[in-house]
Assembly symmetry: C2
C-alpha cells in the first residue's frame, strides 16, 4: 500500500473545515475571497464543500488571512472531534 485512501474520518474533517471557512466567508462572494487568497474560485468551492478534504497548508493559510481567522483555531475546530476522551 503506497498511498492510503482518505478515511471517512478524514473526509468528515475536511467537511468541518469547509463549513468553518464558509461560515467565516459570510456574505462575501467566493470569487472575491478566492482572489484575495490567491486561488481559483473552483478550488475554494471544493474546499468549502468538502470535496477537497486535505488542502495544502499554505492554501488554508492564505484563506485564513483572507478571512481573518486564526490557523490554530481552524486546526482545533477541525481536528478536535470528540474521539477517545478521558
Amino acid at each position: 500500500m503506497v498511498r492510503t485512501p482518505l478515511t471517512p474520518e478524514e473526509r468528515e474533517r475536511g467537511e468541518r473545515l469547509g463549513r468553518l471557512l464558509r461560515s467565516a466567508r459570510g456574505e462575501r462572494s467566493m470569487v472575491e475571497v478566492a482572489a484575495s487568497a490567491g486561488l481559483s474560485a473552483e478550488t475554494l468551492r471544493k474546499i468549502e464543500t468538502g470535496r477537497a478534504p486535505t488542502p495544502a497548508f499554505f492554501t488554508v493559510s492564505a484563506l485564513a488571512v483572507a478571512l481573518g481567522l486564526s490557523l490554530d483555531e481552524v486546526a482545533q475546530t477541525c481536528v478536535l472531534v470528540p474521539l477517545a476522551p478521558v
Copy 2:
C-alpha cells in the same frame, strides 16, 4: 496549463518551513516525531529538507502539535519573507 508548477518562491517557502520544523525538532529523532505526528519518517524528512514544499494542512497541523508550535507563527515565519522591503 491546468496545474501550475511550483514557483521558486514557493519552493523557498517550503525550505523555510522545513528549517523551522527541523529546528523545532531539536534532538528528537525523525522517527519519533514522525510517529508522534502520525506520518512516515520519509515524509517528515522530505518536508524538513524542502523536497515536499507544500505539505497538506493537517500534516503540518499534526507536526505543530507534536513539536509544540503555533500554526500561526509557523505560517507567519514561512510567508513573511523579506520581499520588497522599503
